[in-house]
Amino acid sequence: MAATVQSIGAFVIGGYAGPLAIILLTVLPAAIVAGVAGRLIRISFLLTLPIAISVVLVSVFTRAGTTVLFSVGPFDATAEGVNFAGQTLVRLFAISTSIGLFGLTTNPRAFVLDLERRGLSPRFAFVALATLEAVPAMVERATVIQAAQRARGLDTEGSLRARLRGILPLVGPVILSSLTEVEERSLALEVRAFGRPGRRHLLWTIPDSRTQFVVRLALVVVFVALVALRASGSIAGLP
């Protein structure tokens, strides 16, 4: 909820102050308390970088403006373009840090199971969880297949070229073996009444205090207020 409100807030509030306030006053303190500030900044920076490069290039050189800072060939970099790029970047960084903080501080399993407790379909919850669990399972399978390929003389170490060459004999067996197991896996799930309609009683209880409930409620109010203020024109958007 906090990540959603922070992201929407960063999106609807124009200028530098709003998104910076979101980063400095809400995201960073929470990240410091959770002990993930360093990782959060690093991850958010890496996530934002590709988009940031294109935003800067497109905004600085193509945005119409009266103040030309410098020219590269036929393209003029304008102060208005720099301003627009700067405001977009702080917004992007605010959004990526809030989503990153959510990712770094939330156990995906607990999140999905809590959603199921709140009404999400057990099937959807299963698909979401199985997807999360599929990655380590695939990595393990790949390790086993790689060991088998090495035992048969395949060289998967050494130069970059040798390593790349070693990937090809790995990809086919990993994908094919995963596919061939699908039927038996789905049968095994059906045997355990996975297709039974209706709700199930979960074993897990996610701690949820009254304070957390009040904070969530407050965030909903903030969310509605932000959207309303922006819709009424009380908050400025991007220039």
Partner: protein
């Protein structure tokens, strides 16, 4: 009681049937062993007897599957799961993939049945105790050995407390101690009235736990009788099934001209 009558089954897209006119009855509390060479149709019979073929697998079944007096024709898979469960031989494909601990893994079946939490917990604990898996409660299901995974897979089904259990090579990944554990658990279940069908290559296990053995060859039942009669029948070797160790020993002794007193090899057919 689980009953198959004149069951002939053909997989979708195949011209020939894999099972032919199978008549098989498994009474409450009875443990029936299923033996046969590779490709004889044991796994297919497990699927048909559990109703998964054709309900989930597809294909064409003629004949009937009746469980506790009710026809299973047209039943949905979750309805079947409330009556009969089947354990496959590969433990990796039986992991739900969504549980963080072994306890959660075992609890998924009862949870899916819509049972209340105390009942889910009780069933899960009981199933784990039956296979002595308590020490694995907090372990990650992904980080288990093949044998442990297979025991967890069996426990996951036992926790559903089905009236009928079908096991397709349940001890393929197990060491002798694990195999013994499974044997003990199956006997306990049978004493409670659960009917069991076990497809196995390990005839020693069947020798210990089964009251009846059915031998399958090329999709047909070629022998159906008491454990002692079938496992000592010479035709078993002919179709490619190895008799249990004590029967092989008896034959070796007879071949060597040793006069065996039945009392010497307790329980061994004279």
């Amino acid at each position: 009681m689980l009953e198959l009558r004149a069951a002939t089954y053909r997989y979708a897209g195949y011209a020939k049937a894999v099972l032919h006119a199978i008549d098989l009855t498994i009474g409450d509390g009875e443990i029936v062993g299923l033996v046969g060479p590779n490709e004889s149709g044991k796994s297919t019979l497990c699927l048909v007897a559990s109703g998964l073929a054709p309900a989930s697998v597809g294909g064409q079944l003629s004949g009937t599957l009746t469980i506790d007096g009710e026809s299973m024709a047209g039943r949905r898979t979750h309805e079947l799961a409330e009556r009969v469960v089947v354990c496959f031989q590969n433990p990796n494909t039986q992991r739900s993939g969504v549980a963080a601990t072994v306890f959660e893994e075992v609890a998924i079946g009862p949870m899916n049945l819509g049972l209340e939490v105390p009942e889910v917990l009780a069933r899960t604990r009981e199933a784990m105790a039956l296979l002595r898996l308590e020490h694995l409660v907090e372990r990650d299901p992904l980080r288990l050995s093949g044998g442990q995974s297979q025991l967890v897979a069996i426990a996951s089904l036992l926790a559903m407390r089905p009236r009928h259990i079908i096991l397709d090579e349940p001890t393929a990944q197990l060491d002798p101690a694990g195999t013994r554990l499974v044997g003990e658990a199956l006997r306990t279940l049978a004493e409670r009235g659960t009917s069991l069908l076990i497809a196995e290559h390990k005839t020693d296990l069947l020798d210990e736990v089964c009251s009846r053995i059915v031998a399958l060859d090329a999709g047909r039942i070629v022998m159906d009788g008491s454990t002692r009669d079938v496992l000592t029948d010479d035709r078993l070797v002919t179709i490619g099934v190895e008799p249990p160790a004590r029967e092989r020993l008896r034959r070796s002794l007879v071949a060597a001209g040793v006069d065996i007193e039945p009392a010497v090899l307790a329980g061994l057919p004279a």
